[in-house]
């Protein structure tokens, strides 16, 4: 436990020592629940399914034609929309996510965090989907709220990533095409790509009415650049070699990294998305808390579509 342990948080290092991804998610979520006496989001996803008499003027699409044929009575059937939140988790599995200076990589961290979110949302009764990608889409599970569905998501997240490069544009465009319903989109990536394509992709998603939360997952050494000896640095994605003296370039690197963050955050702000930077030594509870805080802050801003209950 580090200093975060004193606050009752689960240390990321200890957490990552747990082998099963599902167990990790459960540890975080249950610990989170035990710290909450009253959830501000209680009853958030109350569902009801009912029949009610048809009133003239209502949409006849929801008329229960079978009942009509059987009993000659006009009833409207409530559309079976179980949840009020459709969350799509977008997990970057490119090769750069495999970088590590700790015992686990960025990808390990991101997948654990995605599993935690999935578990948490599923516990709340929300529909959760998964979308893994590198330079192309790898796995796709549409948002659903089923026991087996969560299990499938966990298994998909368990798989080691095998991607090469990072391309956010094409996968996010694909997400926009495949998600017909609006919902929450959580993007987990190191965002080590040029800003312009990222902006393009986020704009497309936001325009579709989705609520977007971006988590930039970085390794601590990517921020501090702690190397001290001049050597060849190889880009893990494009295998390009640079001979670099870290002492000479460290300040410039950190400046550029910060500029990149600011640019990404600006883009997110522009499209109404929440942006969080987390490092892999960051406790996942805090990250989850940041997420929920963002949700509560933006709760009223999201235009929530309810199913029309109108008689034909």
């Amino acid at each position: 436990m580090n200093s975060f342990g004193d606050l009752g948080l689960v240390d990321a290092k200890a957490l990552m020592a747990i082998r099963t991804l599902e167990l990790r998610a459960r540890v975080i979520v249950e610990g989170f629940w035990s710290g909450l006496h009253r959830s501000p989001f209680h009853g958030f996803s109350v569902e009801f399914t009912e029949y009610r008499p048809y009133s003239p003027g209502e949409d006849t699409r929801y008329l229960d034609w079978r009942l009509l044929a059987r009993s000659d009575r006009y009833y409207l059937k409530k559309f079976e929309d179980e949840t009020n939140l459709r969350c799509q988790l977008l997990v970057d599995q490119s090769r750069s996510m495999n970088y590590r200076s700790l015992a686990y990589s960025k990808s390990d961290y991101a997948r654990t965090f995605a599993a935690t979110l999935a578990w948490f949302l599923h516990e709340q009764g929300d529909a959760v989907g998964l979308f893994t990608f590198d330079e192309q889409v790898r796995d796709y599970f549409p948002p659903r709220h089923r026991k087996g569905h969560l299990r499938q998501i966990m298994l998909a997240l368990e798989r080691e990533p095998s991607g090469r490069s990072t391309d956010l544009v094409a996968p996010l465009r694909r997400v926009a095409e495949m998600s017909r319903k609006r919902g929450l989109i959580v993007l987990l990536s190191d965002l080590l790509v040029p800003i312009a394509p990222l902006e393009q992709a986020l704009v497309r998603l936001a325009a579709a009415g989705n609520e977007i939360v971006v988590f930039q997952v970085l390794d601590p050494s990517e921020l501090s650049f702690p190397f001290d000896r001049a050597m060849l640095f190889r880009d893990v994605e494009n295998q390009q070699d640079f001979y670099i003296d870290p002492v000479a370039v460290r300040a410039e690197y950190q400046r550029r990294m910060e500029a990149h963050r600011e640019s990404a955050e600006g883009v997110c702000r522009k499209v109404g998305a929440a942006f969080y930077r987390i490092t892999t030594d960051h406790p996942m509870d805090l990250a989850l808390r940041d997420f929920l805080r963002a949700r509560s802050r933006r709760g009223r801003m999201v235009r929530r579509r309810t199913q029309p209950v109108s008689a034909p």
Binding site: L192, V193, D219, P226, L232, F233, Y243, D245, E252
Partner: protein, 692 residues
């Protein structure tokens, strides 16, 4: 320290591997993978440090390990316990055998041969013993083993070169077989207390022509470990033909054919040749001789009365053998002096048969002369004759003259036809009396014959030595006094001498104790009579027709002449005086030789041997077939024993010392140290790579 298998030391070159790997690993180790270089800018590398080798100790350990392994595989041993080398250090025994036959007179051949010999001379070491021999018709030593050894070390080659410079090819034939066997025998004569030599080698420097005589090679007992190395002197391929005038059967002249034998070498490309008498009128005669064949032709017709001439062959490429000298044979006139009263027409007499027993041949004419013809005195008659026939009693004056003539080295045959010949014999022997009596037996036969004497030597064969059927109806018993030097060549069966050789001064008197006429015996009608008379005539030196055609190296018999000395003149004009009867040996040059004796000139032609014209190269296989141990001393068959023995000694010494084990142990220890060191270093590197 020595190595049993030194070629494994080449494995030490493998140390280049660790050095290379140290350079490669250095660059590989200093590579850091990073998530993205998006925010990084490259800085120029500082190459000075990259050229340095790091971990020198580790590198040294690895190189040392490889070196030890290479040394172990080379199987080292300490040679201080090695027994002292015996034979291999005592050098070689080499006989340089140079061909100086006439075929080596071809342009460039002798220079090449001498150049090869000089090359060998520069290669010999101080321990080598060398003999140099030249050969043509017979071998002759130039430098012997002992002479070579006595020369100062640094001057041997120069002194030998000086000897070589003094000789040149002559005009003689090639007795290769005799030369090789003589050279090989040098090793036998040079053996003895000297230490055994590693190699014995005969270096034959020759053109190895096909006409070389190889007699004596087959079955020759070659000394052990002797090899013959053939250094063939070669030139451009050339056509060659040679010629030889045959000894004429009769006198030369338009009426006699002179025949010439022409041989064409096997590798010749020309077959049409021309024959022509040099400096004589008449056009050339064209002859056709296919390559590899020898044919005989009648020579072009010489001018009438030509005593000597030169027949020239043209049409081939090589000129040294294109002349053949000719000396016309002279008629041998044999004069037999007959003293007495007998005539050749008296069939009851002896002369009747004698005049008919010698045939008249073109080369020999036998003439009988008697006092009755044109001789003034017996001395005058005898001085013109080479043989005297004394058929009966002589007057005392004649006896004195004959005795004086005999004392000068002449020969006479006295036939005791009756006992009245006794005073003649006594007078010839200068004795007061010689007992001659008539034998009383019915007939007598020849009982004992000395076949070892030159007179009867031709009959010394079971087919011819039967004289027992010849009956002697009458014969005389002769008793030679004790002081007379006599030899009974044949005896009758009663023990009395039949033919007696009596020495008078320098001459010889043959005394036959019975006549050959039918009244006396059956000798004249016997088949033994003509050969016996011919033998007697030849023995006197007058009957053999003289040869006029000789080969280089032959000895020319002295011409028959009453002179005491003969003046010989060679073709180059040099004169030599020899006593009469001594043959002339110095026929080293082809040409016409003259002998002047008693005012008469005898000409002889000396020519090159025809075999010397067969210049096609002799195959070395032919020598091998005759048992010549061909090869070089460097091959396995010449000196294998000593080298094998040394190798075995090395192997034994190495297996006893087993130094390779210690080297392997050292290599393993170094490997262990290297593992520890490299592990330690790699841990340090890993620690450095960990992010602080």
């Amino acid at each position: 320290m020595s190595f049993l298998t030194p070629w494994f030391l080449a494995g030490a070159l493998a140390i280049a591997g660790p050095i290379l790997f140290h350079l490669i690993r250095r660059s590989a180790r200093e590579r850091q993978h990073f998530s993205s270089l998006l925010f990084l800018t490259p800085t120029p590398p500082r190459t000075v440090r990259r050229r340095k080798l790091e971990h020198l100790l580790l590198l040294c350990l690895r190189c040392l390990c490889l070196l030890l392994l290479a040394a172990a595989f080379a199987r080292p041993f300490l040679a201080k316990d090695m027994p002292a080398p015996a034979a291999s250090d005592s050098g070689r025994q080499v006989v340089l055998l140079l061909d100086t036959s006439a075929s080596m007179r071809r342009p460039g051949f002798w220079d090449k041969a001498r150049s090869v010999a000089n090359q060998y001379l520069t290669q010999f070491g101080p321990a080598d013993t060398v003999a140099i021999m030249a050969f043509d018709r017979e071998p002759r030593p130039l430098v012997s083993f002992s002479e070579w050894s006595s020369w100062p070390l640094g001057q041997r080659a120069e002194l030998a070169r000086a000897r070589l410079a003094a000789i040149s090819p002559g005009w003689l034939g090639t007795a290769l077989g005799l030369a090789l066997t003589t050279a090989a025998d040098q090793f036998r004569s040079g053996a003895g207390p000297n230490p055994p030599v590693a190699h014995r080698e005969v270096v034959l420097i020759s053109d190895l022509q096909e006409g070389a005589q190889l007699e004596g090679l087959q079955g020759h007992d070659w000394p052990a470990d002797t090899r013959v190395r053939v250094e063939r002197v070669e030139g451009p391929p050339q056509s060659n033909a040679g010629l030889e005038i045959l000894e004429p059967a009769g006198t030369a002249g338009p009426e006699n054919n002179i025949r010439v034998r022409v041989t064409n070498s096997r590798d010749s490309r020309k077959d049409k040749l021309q024959l022509n008498w040099r400096d004589k009128p008449g056009g050339p005669m064209e002859v056709y001789v296919p390559p590899g064949q020898t044919r005989t032709f009648p020579a072009p017709k010489p001018p009438a009365g030509m005593a000597t001439g030169v027949l020239e062959l043209t049409g081939d490429d090589v000129n040294f053998d294109n002349l053949s000298y000719f000396a016309a044979p002279a008629v041998e006139n044999v004069k037999i002096a007959c003293l007495g009263t007998e005539t050749a027409q008296d069939a009851a007499g002896l002369l009747y048969y004698l005049t008919r027993v010698f045939p008249q041949t073109p080369r020999r004419k036998v003439q009988f002369a008697s006092l009755g013809t044109n001789a003034a005195s017996a001395t005058d008659l005898l001085n013109r004759a080479s043989f005297a026939f004394l058929p009966g009693p002589l007057t005392p004056e004649q006896c004195a003259e004959v005795r004086a003539w005999l004392k000068n080295g002449q020969t006479a045959l006295l036939v005791l036809t009756n006992i009245q010949s006794s005073p003649t014999l006594a007078a010839l022997l200068d004795l007061p009396q010689v007992n001659v009596s008539e034998a009383s037996a019915d007939y007598a036969l020849l009982g004992e014959i000395d076949f070892r004497h030159p007179l009867f030597a031709p009959f010394d064969d079971p087919r011819f030595n039967d004289f027992t059927h010849i009956h002697f109806w009458k014969h005389r018993r002769l008793e030679i006094p004790g002081g007379v030097k006599s030899l009974a060549l044949a005896k009758f069966d009663d023990g009395s001498p039949a033919l007696t050789q009596i020495t008078i001064g320098q001459g010889t008197l043959l005394v036959l104790a019975a006549g050959w006429n039918p009244a006396e015996s059956q000798l004249a009608v016997s088949s033994k009579f003509p050969p016996l008379m011919e033998t007697i005539l030849e023995w006197t030196g007058g009957g053999v027709p003289a040869r006029r055609q000789f080969h280089t190296g032959d000895t020319i018999p002295s011409p028959n002449s009453p002179a005491t000395t003969v003046e010989w003149q060679k073709p180059d004009g040099t004169n030599t005086s020899l006593p009469a009867g001594t043959p002339f040996p110095d026929t080293d040059t082809p040409g016409i030789y003259h002998a002047v004796a008693d005012g008469k000139i005898f000409s002889f032609a000396v020519n090159l041997r025809l075999e010397e014209s067969r210049l096609a190269p002799l195959s070395a296989d032919e020598l091998a077939r005759l048992g010549v141990p061909l090869g070089t001393s460097g091959d396995q068959t010449v000196a294998p024993k000593i080298e094998r023995q040394r190798q075995l000694q090395r192997a034994e010494l190495e297996s006893r010392q087993k130094l390779w084990r210690w080297l392997i142990v050292a290599a393993l220890a170094i490997t262990f140290g290297e593992v520890l060191l490299s592990g330690s270093l790699s841990r340090q590197v890993a620690a450095q790579k960990a992010i602080p």
